[in-house]
Amino acid sequence: MTEAINTDSINVDAAKNEAIRQMTDYILKEIVRRPGVEVTPDTPLVSSGLIDSFALVEIFVKLEKLTNRRIPAAKIQPKDMDTISSMFATAERLGKPRQ
Protein backbone atom coordinates (compact mmCIF):
# COMPACT_ATOMS: atom_id res chain seq x y z
CA MET A 1 0.00 0.00 0.00
CA THR A 2 2.73 2.46 1.06
CA GLU A 3 4.71 1.47 -1.99
CA ALA A 4 1.71 2.18 -4.26
CA ILE A 5 1.25 5.63 -2.73
CA ASN A 6 4.96 6.37 -3.17
CA THR A 7 4.83 5.31 -6.80
CA ASP A 8 1.76 7.52 -7.34
CA SER A 9 3.46 10.52 -5.77
CA ILE A 10 6.58 9.91 -7.87
CA ASN A 11 4.39 9.82 -11.00
CA VAL A 12 2.63 13.03 -9.97
CA ASP A 13 5.96 14.75 -9.35
CA ALA A 14 7.32 13.54 -12.69
CA ALA A 15 4.20 14.81 -14.50
CA LYS A 16 4.46 18.16 -12.73
CA ASN A 17 8.16 18.48 -13.54
CA GLU A 18 7.43 17.69 -17.17
CA ALA A 19 4.67 20.33 -17.23
CA ILE A 20 7.06 22.88 -15.69
CA ARG A 21 9.67 21.99 -18.31
CA GLN A 22 7.12 22.45 -21.10
CA MET A 23 6.02 25.78 -19.68
CA THR A 24 9.63 27.00 -19.40
CA ASP A 25 10.19 25.95 -23.00
CA TYR A 26 6.99 27.68 -24.13
CA ILE A 27 7.87 30.95 -22.36
CA LEU A 28 11.41 30.97 -23.75
CA LYS A 29 10.54 30.04 -27.34
CA GLU A 30 7.10 31.59 -27.81
CA ILE A 31 6.91 34.51 -25.42
CA VAL A 32 10.34 35.94 -24.55
CA ARG A 33 12.20 35.03 -27.76
CA ARG A 34 15.31 36.96 -26.82
CA PRO A 35 18.74 35.43 -27.22
CA GLY A 36 20.73 35.23 -24.01
CA VAL A 37 17.72 35.40 -21.68
CA GLU A 38 17.51 32.54 -19.21
CA VAL A 39 14.23 31.47 -17.62
CA THR A 40 14.12 29.13 -14.64
CA PRO A 41 11.07 28.12 -12.57
CA ASP A 42 11.95 30.93 -10.12
CA THR A 43 12.68 33.74 -12.58
CA PRO A 44 10.39 36.76 -11.95
CA LEU A 45 8.48 37.28 -15.19
CA VAL A 46 5.92 40.02 -14.58
CA SER A 47 7.68 42.09 -11.90
CA SER A 48 10.90 42.11 -13.95
CA GLY A 49 9.07 43.30 -17.09
CA LEU A 50 10.12 40.18 -19.02
CA ILE A 51 6.52 39.54 -20.11
CA ASP A 52 3.57 41.88 -20.65
CA SER A 53 -0.06 41.44 -19.62
CA PHE A 54 -1.13 40.01 -22.97
CA ALA A 55 1.58 37.35 -22.76
CA LEU A 56 0.43 36.68 -19.21
CA VAL A 57 -3.00 35.69 -20.54
CA GLU A 58 -1.38 33.38 -23.11
CA ILE A 59 0.64 31.79 -20.31
CA PHE A 60 -2.51 31.48 -18.20
CA VAL A 61 -4.30 29.61 -21.02
CA LYS A 62 -1.24 27.37 -21.46
CA LEU A 63 -1.19 26.73 -17.70
CA GLU A 64 -4.81 25.59 -17.79
CA LYS A 65 -3.97 23.18 -20.64
CA LEU A 66 -0.84 21.78 -19.02
CA THR A 67 -2.45 21.23 -15.62
CA ASN A 68 -5.83 20.22 -17.10
CA ARG A 69 -7.50 22.52 -14.59
CA ARG A 70 -9.95 25.42 -14.82
CA ILE A 71 -8.46 28.29 -12.83
CA PRO A 72 -10.75 31.17 -11.74
CA ALA A 73 -8.87 34.17 -13.12
CA ALA A 74 -10.71 36.65 -10.89
CA LYS A 75 -9.13 34.94 -7.88
CA ILE A 76 -5.58 35.36 -9.18
CA GLN A 77 -3.23 38.08 -8.08
CA PRO A 78 -0.26 39.26 -10.19
CA LYS A 79 2.20 37.79 -7.70
CA ASP A 80 0.55 34.37 -8.22
CA MET A 81 1.74 34.40 -11.83
CA ASP A 82 5.14 36.01 -11.32
CA THR A 83 7.24 32.83 -11.56
CA ILE A 84 6.63 29.46 -13.17
CA SER A 85 6.77 27.79 -9.73
CA SER A 86 4.17 30.16 -8.29
CA MET A 87 1.92 29.61 -11.35
CA PHE A 88 1.82 25.86 -10.79
CA ALA A 89 1.32 26.32 -7.04
CA THR A 90 -1.61 28.64 -7.82
CA ALA A 91 -3.08 26.16 -10.31
CA GLU A 92 -2.97 23.48 -7.61
CA ARG A 93 -4.44 25.79 -4.96
CA LEU A 94 -7.26 27.38 -6.95
CA GLY A 95 -7.77 25.20 -10.05
CA LYS A 96 -10.55 22.68 -10.39
CA PRO A 97 -9.84 19.51 -12.45
CA ARG A 98 -11.57 19.59 -15.84
CA GLN A 99 -14.19 16.94 -16.47
Binding site: G49, D52, S53, F54, V57, V61, A73, I76, Q77, P78
Partner: protein, 485 residues
Protein backbone atom coordinates in the same frame (compact mmCIF):
# COMPACT_ATOMS: atom_id res chain seq x y z
CA UNK B 1 -23.65 74.60 -11.23
CA UNK B 2 -21.76 71.53 -10.10
CA UNK B 3 -20.27 72.08 -6.65
CA UNK B 4 -16.74 73.39 -7.02
CA UNK B 5 -13.82 73.68 -4.63
CA UNK B 6 -13.82 76.21 -1.83
CA UNK B 7 -11.66 79.30 -2.08
CA UNK B 8 -9.28 78.11 0.66
CA UNK B 9 -8.83 74.62 -0.85
CA UNK B 10 -5.45 73.17 0.05
CA UNK B 11 -3.79 71.89 -3.08
CA UNK B 12 -0.38 70.39 -3.50
CA UNK B 13 0.90 73.46 -5.31
CA UNK B 14 0.01 76.04 -2.67
CA UNK B 15 2.25 77.68 -0.10
CA UNK B 16 -0.20 76.63 2.62
CA UNK B 17 0.40 73.00 1.60
CA UNK B 18 4.16 73.51 1.99
CA UNK B 19 3.42 74.66 5.55
CA UNK B 20 0.92 71.84 6.12
CA UNK B 21 3.57 69.13 5.51
CA UNK B 22 6.05 70.21 8.25
CA UNK B 23 3.16 70.87 10.67
CA UNK B 24 1.81 67.31 10.31
CA UNK B 25 5.38 65.95 10.37
CA UNK B 26 6.17 67.69 13.68
CA UNK B 27 2.84 66.55 15.17
CA UNK B 28 3.62 62.98 14.04
CA UNK B 29 7.00 63.09 15.80
CA UNK B 30 5.30 64.49 18.89
CA UNK B 31 2.60 61.81 18.87
CA UNK B 32 5.22 59.08 18.38
CA UNK B 33 7.23 60.18 21.39
CA UNK B 34 4.47 61.23 23.80
CA UNK B 35 1.60 58.75 23.46
CA UNK B 36 1.46 55.26 24.94
CA UNK B 37 -0.06 53.77 21.75
CA UNK B 38 1.82 55.65 19.04
CA UNK B 39 0.52 53.55 16.13
CA UNK B 40 -3.15 54.23 16.85
CA UNK B 41 -2.51 57.88 17.75
CA UNK B 42 -0.44 58.44 14.59
CA UNK B 43 -3.12 56.87 12.39
CA UNK B 44 -5.81 59.04 14.00
CA UNK B 45 -3.65 62.12 13.52
CA UNK B 46 -3.08 61.31 9.84
CA UNK B 47 -6.78 60.59 9.33
CA UNK B 48 -7.70 63.92 10.97
CA UNK B 49 -5.10 65.69 8.78
CA UNK B 50 -6.46 63.93 5.68
CA UNK B 51 -10.07 64.86 6.46
CA UNK B 52 -9.07 68.45 7.24
CA UNK B 53 -7.15 68.60 3.96
CA UNK B 54 -10.12 67.24 1.99
CA UNK B 55 -12.64 69.39 3.87
CA UNK B 56 -10.84 72.53 2.68
CA UNK B 57 -12.13 71.60 -0.78
CA UNK B 58 -15.71 71.13 0.41
CA UNK B 59 -17.50 69.66 3.42
CA UNK B 60 -19.93 67.97 1.03
CA UNK B 61 -17.01 66.23 -0.69
CA UNK B 62 -15.84 65.00 2.70
CA UNK B 63 -19.33 63.64 3.51
CA UNK B 64 -19.34 61.58 0.30
CA UNK B 65 -15.85 60.25 1.03
CA UNK B 66 -16.76 59.28 4.61
CA UNK B 67 -19.97 57.53 3.53
CA UNK B 68 -18.11 55.66 0.77
CA UNK B 69 -15.39 54.62 3.24
CA UNK B 70 -17.90 53.34 5.83
CA UNK B 71 -19.98 51.42 3.27
CA UNK B 72 -16.89 49.88 1.62
CA UNK B 73 -15.48 48.87 5.00
CA UNK B 74 -18.79 47.13 5.80
CA UNK B 75 -18.79 45.52 2.33
CA UNK B 76 -15.26 44.25 3.01
CA UNK B 77 -16.40 42.55 6.23
CA UNK B 78 -19.42 41.09 4.42
CA UNK B 79 -17.19 39.75 1.62
CA UNK B 80 -14.54 38.42 3.97
CA UNK B 81 -17.07 36.22 5.77
CA UNK B 82 -17.89 34.49 2.48
CA UNK B 83 -15.81 35.58 -0.54
CA UNK B 84 -18.30 34.73 -3.29
CA UNK B 85 -18.66 36.35 -6.70
CA UNK B 86 -22.21 37.47 -5.79
CA UNK B 87 -21.00 39.42 -2.77
CA UNK B 88 -18.17 40.93 -4.80
CA UNK B 89 -20.71 42.14 -7.36
CA UNK B 90 -22.66 43.90 -4.59
CA UNK B 91 -19.46 45.86 -3.79
CA UNK B 92 -18.73 46.54 -7.45
CA UNK B 93 -22.33 47.70 -7.95
CA UNK B 94 -22.14 50.13 -5.04
CA UNK B 95 -18.90 51.70 -6.27
CA UNK B 96 -20.09 51.93 -9.87
CA UNK B 97 -23.22 53.64 -8.58
CA UNK B 98 -21.04 56.10 -6.67
CA UNK B 99 -19.12 56.88 -9.86
CA UNK B 100 -22.30 57.12 -11.93
CA UNK B 101 -23.93 59.56 -9.49
CA UNK B 102 -20.95 61.68 -8.50
CA UNK B 103 -18.75 61.60 -11.60
CA UNK B 104 -20.87 60.94 -14.68
CA UNK B 105 -24.36 62.20 -13.80
CA UNK B 106 -23.29 65.87 -13.43
CA UNK B 107 -21.59 65.70 -16.85
CA UNK B 108 -24.48 63.88 -18.52
CA UNK B 109 -27.03 66.27 -17.07
CA UNK B 110 -25.02 69.25 -18.29
CA UNK B 111 -25.01 67.69 -21.79
CA UNK B 112 -28.79 67.26 -21.60
CA UNK B 113 -29.16 70.96 -20.97
CA UNK B 114 -31.41 72.99 -18.69
CA UNK B 115 -35.16 72.61 -18.05
CA UNK B 116 -36.21 69.71 -15.86
CA UNK B 117 -32.56 68.63 -15.50
CA UNK B 118 -31.58 71.89 -13.82
CA UNK B 119 -32.32 70.42 -10.39
CA UNK B 120 -29.56 67.87 -11.00
CA UNK B 121 -27.12 70.52 -12.12
CA UNK B 122 -27.79 72.58 -9.03
CA UNK B 123 -27.65 69.77 -6.51
CA UNK B 124 -25.25 67.08 -7.65
CA UNK B 125 -21.66 67.52 -6.51
CA UNK B 126 -18.53 66.23 -8.22
CA UNK B 127 -16.16 65.32 -5.36
CA UNK B 128 -12.58 65.87 -6.40
CA UNK B 129 -10.60 62.63 -6.69
CA UNK B 130 -13.73 60.43 -6.64
CA UNK B 131 -12.39 58.22 -9.47
CA UNK B 132 -9.13 57.65 -7.63
CA UNK B 133 -10.46 56.72 -4.20
CA UNK B 134 -13.37 54.70 -5.62
CA UNK B 135 -10.85 52.59 -7.55
CA UNK B 136 -8.88 52.13 -4.33
CA UNK B 137 -12.04 50.88 -2.63
CA UNK B 138 -12.70 48.50 -5.53
CA UNK B 139 -9.16 47.10 -5.44
CA UNK B 140 -9.62 46.45 -1.69
CA UNK B 141 -12.81 44.46 -2.38
CA UNK B 142 -11.13 42.51 -5.20
CA UNK B 143 -8.21 41.70 -2.90
CA UNK B 144 -10.57 40.48 -0.17
CA UNK B 145 -12.35 38.33 -2.78
CA UNK B 146 -8.95 36.92 -3.76
CA UNK B 147 -8.55 36.01 -0.08
CA UNK B 148 -5.61 38.30 0.49
CA UNK B 149 -4.78 38.41 4.19
CA UNK B 150 -6.04 41.92 5.00
CA UNK B 151 -7.36 43.01 8.38
CA UNK B 152 -7.51 46.82 8.43
CA UNK B 153 -9.22 48.53 11.35
CA UNK B 154 -11.89 51.11 10.49
CA UNK B 155 -9.35 53.91 11.08
CA UNK B 156 -6.82 52.24 8.80
CA UNK B 157 -9.39 51.72 6.05
CA UNK B 158 -10.62 55.33 6.25
CA UNK B 159 -7.00 56.51 6.16
CA UNK B 160 -6.33 54.31 3.11
CA UNK B 161 -9.25 55.97 1.29
CA UNK B 162 -8.50 59.53 2.43
CA UNK B 163 -4.68 59.60 2.76
CA UNK B 164 -4.08 63.27 1.97
CA UNK B 165 -1.16 63.02 -0.47
CA UNK B 166 -3.13 60.66 -2.75
CA UNK B 167 -6.79 61.62 -2.18
CA UNK B 168 -7.00 64.23 -4.94
CA UNK B 169 -5.33 62.50 -7.87
CA UNK B 170 -3.65 59.25 -6.90
CA UNK B 171 -1.46 57.31 -7.54
CA UNK B 172 -4.14 54.63 -7.13
CA UNK B 173 -2.84 52.71 -4.10
CA UNK B 174 -3.44 49.11 -2.99
CA UNK B 175 -4.23 48.07 0.55
CA UNK B 176 -1.60 45.26 0.75
CA UNK B 177 1.12 47.84 0.06
CA UNK B 178 -0.13 50.57 2.38
CA UNK B 179 -1.42 48.67 5.40
CA UNK B 180 1.96 47.44 6.73
CA UNK B 181 3.39 50.93 6.17
CA UNK B 182 0.52 52.63 8.04
CA UNK B 183 1.29 50.33 10.94
CA UNK B 184 5.01 50.84 10.96
CA UNK B 185 6.30 53.79 8.97
CA UNK B 186 9.98 54.31 9.54
CA UNK B 187 11.19 57.48 7.85
CA UNK B 188 14.98 57.58 7.64
CA UNK B 189 17.14 60.58 6.85
CA UNK B 190 17.46 59.29 3.28
CA UNK B 191 13.65 59.06 2.96
CA UNK B 192 13.25 62.68 4.02
CA UNK B 193 16.02 63.90 1.69
CA UNK B 194 14.61 61.87 -1.19
CA UNK B 195 11.08 63.06 -0.41
CA UNK B 196 12.10 66.73 -0.45
CA UNK B 197 14.06 66.17 -3.68
CA UNK B 198 10.98 64.62 -5.33
CA UNK B 199 8.76 67.48 -4.13
CA UNK B 200 11.12 70.12 -5.62
CA UNK B 201 11.44 68.15 -8.87
CA UNK B 202 7.66 67.71 -9.03
CA UNK B 203 7.01 71.40 -8.42
CA UNK B 204 9.49 72.28 -11.16
CA UNK B 205 7.87 69.89 -13.65
CA UNK B 206 4.37 70.98 -12.72
CA UNK B 207 4.58 74.73 -12.17
CA UNK B 208 7.34 75.55 -14.66
CA UNK B 209 7.47 73.09 -17.58
CA UNK B 210 3.81 72.07 -17.77
CA UNK B 211 2.67 75.64 -17.16
CA UNK B 212 4.90 77.06 -19.89
CA UNK B 213 3.66 74.48 -22.38
CA UNK B 214 0.00 74.90 -21.42
CA UNK B 215 -0.24 78.69 -21.34
CA UNK B 216 2.85 79.72 -23.28
CA UNK B 217 5.29 82.45 -22.31
CA UNK B 218 2.88 85.16 -23.43
CA UNK B 219 -0.93 85.32 -23.79
CA UNK B 220 -2.12 83.84 -27.06
CA UNK B 221 0.48 81.08 -27.06
CA UNK B 222 0.60 77.57 -25.63
CA UNK B 223 -1.23 74.29 -26.05
CA UNK B 224 -4.51 75.62 -24.67
CA UNK B 225 -4.57 78.43 -27.20
CA UNK B 226 -3.61 76.01 -29.98
CA UNK B 227 -6.49 73.68 -29.24
CA UNK B 228 -9.13 76.23 -28.22
CA UNK B 229 -8.64 79.37 -30.24
CA UNK B 230 -7.19 78.54 -33.64
CA UNK B 231 -9.88 80.27 -35.65
CA UNK B 232 -8.01 79.85 -38.95
CA UNK B 233 -7.60 76.09 -38.54
CA UNK B 234 -4.42 74.02 -38.38
CA UNK B 235 -1.74 72.94 -40.79
CA UNK B 236 -0.15 69.48 -40.58
CA UNK B 237 2.89 70.99 -38.83
CA UNK B 238 0.64 72.75 -36.30
CA UNK B 239 -1.04 69.48 -35.37
CA UNK B 240 2.29 67.70 -34.84
CA UNK B 241 3.65 70.57 -32.73
CA UNK B 242 0.43 70.73 -30.68
CA UNK B 243 0.50 66.95 -30.20
CA UNK B 244 4.11 67.10 -28.95
CA UNK B 245 3.31 70.11 -26.76
CA UNK B 246 0.25 68.47 -25.24
CA UNK B 247 2.01 65.11 -24.68
CA UNK B 248 4.80 66.82 -22.74
CA UNK B 249 2.36 69.17 -20.96
CA UNK B 250 0.41 66.13 -19.71
CA UNK B 251 3.59 64.30 -18.77
CA UNK B 252 5.13 67.18 -16.80
CA UNK B 253 1.75 67.98 -15.26
CA UNK B 254 0.84 64.52 -14.01
CA UNK B 255 4.33 63.07 -13.48
CA UNK B 256 5.27 66.29 -11.66
CA UNK B 257 2.16 66.03 -9.51
CA UNK B 258 2.92 62.36 -8.81
CA UNK B 259 6.44 63.33 -7.75
CA UNK B 260 5.01 65.80 -5.21
CA UNK B 261 2.62 63.12 -3.87
CA UNK B 262 5.26 60.37 -3.71
CA UNK B 263 7.78 62.80 -2.16
CA UNK B 264 5.28 63.94 0.50
CA UNK B 265 4.48 60.36 1.48
CA UNK B 266 8.20 59.48 1.52
CA UNK B 267 8.88 62.27 4.03
CA UNK B 268 6.49 60.41 6.37
CA UNK B 269 8.14 57.05 5.70
CA UNK B 270 5.48 55.79 3.28
CA UNK B 271 6.63 54.44 -0.09
CA UNK B 272 3.94 54.76 -2.75
CA UNK B 273 3.97 52.97 -6.09
CA UNK B 274 5.59 54.89 -8.94
CA UNK B 275 3.32 56.41 -11.56
CA UNK B 276 5.68 57.32 -14.43
CA UNK B 277 9.00 55.95 -15.69
CA UNK B 278 10.26 57.76 -18.79
CA UNK B 279 7.21 56.83 -20.90
CA UNK B 280 8.45 58.59 -24.03
CA UNK B 281 11.43 56.24 -24.24
CA UNK B 282 9.11 53.25 -24.76
CA UNK B 283 9.79 51.11 -27.82
CA UNK B 284 6.29 49.57 -28.02
CA UNK B 285 2.72 50.52 -26.99
CA UNK B 286 2.75 47.64 -24.46
CA UNK B 287 5.89 49.09 -22.87
CA UNK B 288 4.36 52.58 -22.88
CA UNK B 289 1.51 51.32 -20.69
CA UNK B 290 3.98 49.95 -18.15
CA UNK B 291 5.51 53.44 -17.91
CA UNK B 292 2.55 55.90 -18.13
CA UNK B 293 0.05 56.31 -15.27
CA UNK B 294 1.36 52.98 -14.01
CA UNK B 295 -0.88 52.79 -10.94
CA UNK B 296 -4.06 52.97 -13.05
CA UNK B 297 -2.78 50.87 -15.97
CA UNK B 298 -1.76 48.06 -13.59
CA UNK B 299 -5.19 48.40 -11.90
CA UNK B 300 -6.93 47.94 -15.27
CA UNK B 301 -4.60 45.02 -16.08
CA UNK B 302 -5.16 43.21 -12.77
CA UNK B 303 -8.86 43.81 -12.18
CA UNK B 304 -10.36 44.27 -15.67
CA UNK B 305 -8.18 42.86 -18.43
CA UNK B 306 -6.98 39.64 -16.77
CA UNK B 307 -10.40 38.37 -15.57
CA UNK B 308 -12.00 39.44 -18.87
CA UNK B 309 -9.33 38.00 -21.20
CA UNK B 310 -9.21 34.64 -19.45
CA UNK B 311 -12.99 34.28 -19.57
CA UNK B 312 -12.79 32.63 -23.02
CA UNK B 313 -9.73 30.84 -24.45
CA UNK B 314 -10.02 32.17 -28.04
CA UNK B 315 -7.37 34.61 -29.28
CA UNK B 316 -9.96 37.01 -30.77
CA UNK B 317 -11.49 37.38 -27.33
CA UNK B 318 -8.12 38.34 -25.86
CA UNK B 319 -7.86 41.09 -28.47
CA UNK B 320 -11.44 42.22 -27.82
CA UNK B 321 -10.71 42.26 -24.06
CA UNK B 322 -7.72 44.50 -24.64
CA UNK B 323 -9.83 47.00 -26.60
CA UNK B 324 -12.67 46.86 -24.02
CA UNK B 325 -10.21 47.35 -21.13
CA UNK B 326 -8.59 50.35 -22.83
CA UNK B 327 -12.00 51.85 -23.67
CA UNK B 328 -12.85 51.59 -19.98
CA UNK B 329 -9.52 53.27 -19.26
CA UNK B 330 -10.62 56.11 -21.54
CA UNK B 331 -14.11 56.26 -20.01
CA UNK B 332 -12.52 56.53 -16.55
CA UNK B 333 -11.28 59.99 -17.60
CA UNK B 334 -14.82 61.20 -18.22
CA UNK B 335 -18.09 60.65 -20.05
CA UNK B 336 -16.91 62.07 -23.33
CA UNK B 337 -16.61 60.41 -26.75
CA UNK B 338 -13.08 61.76 -27.18
CA UNK B 339 -11.90 59.70 -24.18
CA UNK B 340 -13.70 56.55 -25.33
CA UNK B 341 -12.32 56.83 -28.88
CA UNK B 342 -8.86 57.51 -27.42
CA UNK B 343 -9.19 54.32 -25.33
CA UNK B 344 -10.30 52.32 -28.38
CA UNK B 345 -7.30 53.66 -30.33
CA UNK B 346 -4.97 52.59 -27.51
CA UNK B 347 -6.56 49.12 -27.53
CA UNK B 348 -6.15 48.83 -31.32
CA UNK B 349 -2.52 49.95 -31.05
CA UNK B 350 -1.84 47.24 -28.47
CA UNK B 351 -3.58 44.62 -30.64
CA UNK B 352 -1.60 45.75 -33.73
CA UNK B 353 1.62 45.48 -31.78
CA UNK B 354 0.62 41.98 -30.71
CA UNK B 355 -0.15 41.03 -34.31
CA UNK B 356 3.27 42.31 -35.40
CA UNK B 357 4.92 40.19 -32.69
CA UNK B 358 3.00 37.16 -33.98
CA UNK B 359 4.16 37.94 -37.51
CA UNK B 360 7.77 38.21 -36.29
CA UNK B 361 7.38 34.86 -34.58
CA UNK B 362 5.83 33.07 -37.56
CA UNK B 363 8.18 34.48 -40.19
CA UNK B 364 11.20 34.09 -37.89
CA UNK B 365 12.01 37.73 -38.59
CA UNK B 366 15.07 38.88 -36.64
CA UNK B 367 15.59 42.62 -37.01
CA UNK B 368 18.94 44.03 -35.80
CA UNK B 369 18.42 45.30 -32.21
CA UNK B 370 19.22 48.93 -33.13
CA UNK B 371 16.66 48.91 -35.99
CA UNK B 372 14.06 47.20 -33.83
CA UNK B 373 14.59 49.63 -30.91
CA UNK B 374 14.75 52.85 -32.96
CA UNK B 375 11.91 51.82 -35.29
CA UNK B 376 9.79 50.68 -32.34
CA UNK B 377 10.45 53.92 -30.50
CA UNK B 378 9.64 56.15 -33.51
CA UNK B 379 6.39 54.33 -34.32
CA UNK B 380 5.28 54.22 -30.67
CA UNK B 381 6.07 57.90 -30.07
CA UNK B 382 4.25 59.06 -33.22
CA UNK B 383 1.23 56.81 -32.57
CA UNK B 384 0.96 58.08 -28.98
CA UNK B 385 1.20 61.69 -30.15
CA UNK B 386 -1.64 61.19 -32.62
CA UNK B 387 -3.82 59.52 -30.01
CA UNK B 388 -3.26 62.48 -27.64
CA UNK B 389 -4.81 64.74 -30.30
CA UNK B 390 -8.10 62.85 -29.89
CA UNK B 391 -7.77 62.92 -26.09
CA UNK B 392 -7.23 66.68 -25.95
CA UNK B 393 -9.59 67.75 -28.75
CA UNK B 394 -12.68 69.56 -27.52
CA UNK B 395 -14.87 67.14 -29.48
CA UNK B 396 -14.62 64.49 -32.19
CA UNK B 397 -15.35 67.04 -34.89
CA UNK B 398 -12.25 69.00 -33.91
CA UNK B 399 -10.19 65.79 -33.81
CA UNK B 400 -11.42 64.97 -37.33
CA UNK B 401 -10.43 68.43 -38.61
CA UNK B 402 -6.97 68.07 -37.09
CA UNK B 403 -6.46 64.61 -38.64
CA UNK B 404 -7.68 66.03 -41.93
CA UNK B 405 -4.83 68.55 -41.79
CA UNK B 406 -2.38 65.78 -40.99
CA UNK B 407 -3.10 63.81 -44.16
CA UNK B 408 -3.05 66.84 -46.49
CA UNK B 409 0.61 67.13 -47.29
CA UNK B 410 0.20 70.51 -48.97
CA UNK B 411 -0.58 71.90 -45.51
CA UNK B 412 2.95 71.09 -44.35
CA UNK B 413 4.48 74.12 -46.10
CA UNK B 414 3.98 76.49 -43.16
CA UNK B 415 2.62 76.70 -39.62
CA UNK B 416 0.18 79.12 -38.01
CA UNK B 417 1.19 78.63 -34.36
CA UNK B 418 3.28 81.39 -32.74
CA UNK B 419 6.99 80.93 -33.49
CA UNK B 420 7.89 81.24 -29.78
CA UNK B 421 5.64 78.33 -28.87
CA UNK B 422 7.02 76.11 -31.64
CA UNK B 423 10.59 76.84 -30.57
CA UNK B 424 9.83 76.30 -26.90
CA UNK B 425 8.07 72.98 -27.56
CA UNK B 426 10.97 71.68 -29.65
CA UNK B 427 13.54 72.79 -27.03
CA UNK B 428 11.61 71.17 -24.16
CA UNK B 429 11.06 67.90 -26.10
CA UNK B 430 14.70 67.65 -27.21
CA UNK B 431 15.91 68.51 -23.68
CA UNK B 432 13.71 65.76 -22.26
CA UNK B 433 15.30 63.13 -24.51
CA UNK B 434 18.84 64.43 -23.84
CA UNK B 435 18.31 64.45 -20.05
CA UNK B 436 16.53 61.07 -20.01
CA UNK B 437 19.35 59.59 -22.13
CA UNK B 438 22.04 61.09 -19.89
CA UNK B 439 20.23 59.83 -16.79
CA UNK B 440 20.18 56.29 -18.18
CA UNK B 441 23.87 56.60 -18.96
CA UNK B 442 24.59 57.87 -15.44
CA UNK B 443 22.58 55.01 -13.95
CA UNK B 444 24.74 52.54 -15.84
CA UNK B 445 27.89 54.34 -14.68
CA UNK B 446 26.80 55.18 -11.15
CA UNK B 447 29.76 53.36 -9.66
CA UNK B 448 32.07 55.78 -11.43
CA UNK B 449 33.55 58.33 -8.94
CA UNK B 450 33.71 60.99 -11.68
CA UNK B 451 29.96 60.72 -12.36
CA UNK B 452 29.24 60.84 -8.61
CA UNK B 453 31.40 63.97 -8.20
CA UNK B 454 29.74 65.69 -11.16
CA UNK B 455 26.33 64.77 -9.70
CA UNK B 456 27.25 66.22 -6.29
CA UNK B 457 28.63 69.39 -7.86
CA UNK B 458 25.62 70.00 -10.10
CA UNK B 459 22.85 69.15 -7.61
CA UNK B 460 22.84 72.45 -5.62
CA UNK B 461 22.98 74.49 -8.83
CA UNK B 462 20.15 72.52 -10.44
CA UNK B 463 17.93 72.65 -7.36
CA UNK B 464 18.58 76.40 -6.88
CA UNK B 465 17.57 77.06 -10.50
CA UNK B 466 14.52 74.81 -10.06
CA UNK B 467 13.38 76.61 -6.86
CA UNK B 468 13.91 80.02 -8.47
CA UNK B 469 11.89 79.00 -11.52
CA UNK B 470 9.12 77.60 -9.30
CA UNK B 471 8.90 80.89 -7.35
CA UNK B 472 8.79 82.95 -10.56
CA UNK B 473 6.20 80.72 -12.20
CA UNK B 474 4.07 80.57 -9.03
CA UNK B 475 3.16 84.18 -9.70
CA UNK B 476 1.04 82.72 -12.51
CA UNK B 477 -1.83 80.60 -11.30
CA UNK B 478 -0.92 76.93 -11.77
CA UNK B 479 -3.73 74.58 -12.79
CA UNK B 480 -3.52 70.80 -12.47
CA UNK B 481 -4.89 69.21 -15.65
CA UNK B 482 -5.52 65.76 -14.15
CA UNK B 483 -7.60 67.11 -11.26
CA UNK B 484 -10.66 67.13 -13.57
CA UNK B 485 -10.54 63.32 -13.77
Amino acid sequence: MVESAGRCALNLLSLSYLLFIPLVWVLTRLVNSVTARPMKARQLLWLAASYLFYATWSLKFLCVLVVSSLVNYALGIYLKRKPTAGRLWVGIGFNLLMLAVFKYLPVWSSHLGQGHHSWLLENVILPVGVSFWTFEALSYLFDIYREEDLDPSLTEFCLYMAFWPTVLSGPVCRMPELLPQFRNPQPTGDDIADGVRRIVLGLFMKTVLSQILGSGLRPGEGVDFGFNQMARGWTGLDVWILAIGFAFQMYFDFAGYSNIVIGTARVFGITLRENFRDPFLSTSPAEFWTRWHMSLSSWIRDYVFMPLATWRPQVWWRHASLVIAMMLFGFWHGADWTYIVWGALQGLLLVSHRQFQQFERRSNLQLPPIVSSLGGWAITFCAMLLSWVVFRANDLHQARLMFHALVHFSSYRHFVLPRNFVLMTVVIAVSYFVIAGLRRLAENMKQSPVVLRIGWALSPVMYSVAVLAIVIMSIHKAVFVYLQF
